[in-house]
Amino acid sequence: MKVIKIDKTKWAEGLNKLRSDYQLIGPVKKDKYHDFQMLGKDQLPDVELLNTRMSPKSVVFPQSEVMLEYSLDETKEDHHIIKEVEKDASPRAVFGIRPCDAKALMLVKLNFDTSDYKDPYWIKAFEASTFIGMACDDPASTCFCTSTGCGPYNEEGLDVLMIDVGDHYLAKGITEKGEKLLKTAGWEDTSDDASLIESKKGEAEAKITSKVATENLKDKAILDLYEAPFWEDTAFSCLNCGTCTYVCPTCWCFDIQDETHGKKGIRMRNWDSCMFPLFTLHTTGHNPRETQIHRVRQRFMHKLKYFTDKYEKGIMCVGCGRCVRLCPVNIDIRTVCDKMNNYAASS
């Protein structure tokens, strides 16, 4: 696909041209930290920021999302009938998404868009979105994407990949959706800098020194890993909070709730977390994952073993490093992954 050169002086102009056809979304500062938000009129996305505190998964999978609504007012003809809520499916352009988070969308898709089940909310939002990624030339010490089947210039999940080259960006159209966006923005100067992209990619990959080893996980029996001796030590400090799962771009679990206010009601879904005791509590009162160790082990076994076995797409982690940086007690998935992998090899 062709590579376009976008002079930074023409950046805002192009974005403005897009505004009539797309809702623009990108990283902007919210209170103390950056977050992916709908951009206001004239607002520009902070595409050069390394990464946001929360992942962009909320663009297609909001933390709280109303799915259905109903009325209990018997004077209304449609009372007690559950109805779908009108959703905005107009095109949106998501700027500044990093390759790890884009790859994460593809992993989440495995769950929301299958041949048996199609999640209409997620799919609608996903299909409405064009993802314009930003390659990472200056990764953080907690980025380990090169060992999770991703990388700082990875294109999976992206429609356009942008590369920062000082006074201009290079933009590589990856899909038709992406080409269309570039055209609508009026960025047309083609560039023959494909070889520059390759060399910058190599440099960026070399900067990522943090790695995880996963090669032995696949062949180890589930129960052996499950019963490995290190879980008590690994789990001890865990608070069973929602931080690691909520900040993770690949965690997809949700809980469905009905809320009635007066005579009006909604059915919504909210992110849920396997780290919460409530996650697996049965109505009988029995909880199959009763202790903190059960829950911590579940998170890592799901990400690093069950997922790996079920989908054959590697681990359910793209190496964005968010959980590593934000866990209040410093439970580091890289350490746990290495422990599991070493154990798988040794026993």
Binding site: S64, S237, T243, Y246, Q257, F276, L326, P328
Partner: protein, 315 residues
């Protein structure tokens, strides 16, 4: 600090060797700068990974709740006060514990320090009250007293209030500290401004409950926000529900909170949750002359009745 850790290791080793305890709860070095991880040691080999420095802000009393073993626990001033509260509230027995007291000069504020630099911090070391921070393109030495966690800067109980062993001589307690300036500022606001302040404070809350779960006081078998029959609080991002969680949690901590700062330290969104608990802490001090967790002999004011209790608020 170095002499502290040698002493902690020495005492811990002795306790395990003499079989006085089944495990020791302490800290080991984390994988990131300014992060240590709470851990346990059941044999003398595990003790070798113990550390002590200005990054031990997590409150270890949180790891005692309902445990059955005999435990040695490393405790700074605030941890010791939460251990007292745990004993009073029957969450652990005094005779299960061997408390290894650590006189503390405060923990450093990881978020404040990170915010001082534009690029990532790769290394933080400390020496003699100085903190040296290094990263890509910078190398700066800061006074530790300038970068303390806010609660540590105003702490007046740095020495453990209860202990079986002390790893070093007691440190001097801070005098003439104005503990409640921030609370007074909010108290002086109009109701509208107070509301706005709280709304602003909570607007990025993701309800991960790290604040609650890092808190040694929040040990209810089922927290009211998790209760399903009946359900007291909605689970979405509705600001009313988020506020309800924070306000009620703060009230549940009244007369029990030691202002250890574990909640603020844990919050991934950098929210100052202490803004709520401190008001209650101030009220308990002013109304009952009460500071939580100072003695296992005395019952907290909110679970006792005394004829002289203030009642001006009953109209």
């Amino acid at each position: 600090m170095l002499e502290y850790i040698n002493k902690i290791k020495e005492i811990s080793t002795k306790l395990l060797e003499e079989k006085k305890v089944d495990m020791i709860v302490g800290f080991r070095k984390g994988s990131l700068p300014m992060m240590n991880e709470p851990c346990f040691a059941k044999n003398t080999e595990d003790i070798q990974s113990f550390v002590w420095d200005s990054n031990c802000g997590i409150n270890l009393a949180n790891y005692l709740t309902n445990r059955k073993e005999k435990i040695g626990i490393v405790a700074k001033g605030c941890d010791s006060r939460n251990i007292v509260t745990h004993i009073i509230e029957n969450k652990i027995n005094r005779d299960q514990l061997t408390i290894i007291g650590v006189p503390c000069k405060g923990m450093i504020d990881r978020k404040m320090i990170s915010d001082m630099f534009d690029s990532e911090i790769t290394e933080v070391t400390e020496n003699n009250g100085k903190i040296t921070v290094k990263g890509n393109g910078f190398d700066k030495t800061l006074e530790k007293t300038e970068v303390l966690q806010e609660n540590c800067a105003i702490c007046i109980h740095r020495n453990p209030v209860i202990y079986d062993e002390l790893v070093a001589k007691e440190v001097e307690e801070q005098k003439d500290v104005d503990r409640y300036e921030d609370v007074r500022n909010i108290e002086a606001m109009s109701p509208e401004d107070k509301w706005k302040t709280f709304d602003d404070l909570l607007k990025t809350c993701i309800r991960c409950y790290a604040c609650r779960n890092a808190c040694p006081l929040c040990y209810c078998p089922t927290c009211f926000v998790d209760e399903a029959k009946p359900q007291w609080v909605g689970k979405s991002q509705d600001p009313t529900d988020t506020r309800t969680f924070h306000f009620l949690r703060a009230f549940h901590c009244a007369g029990r909170c030691t202002d250890c700062g574990a909640c603020v330290r844990a919050c991934p969104m950098g929210i100052n949750v202490r803004a709520f608990t401190k008001k209650l802490e101030k009220d308990c001090f002013e109304l009952f002359n009460w500071e939580a967790g100072l003695s296992i002999e005395e019952r907290p004011p909110l679970d006792t009745f005394k004829p002289g209790d203030p009642d001006e608020f009953i109209k």
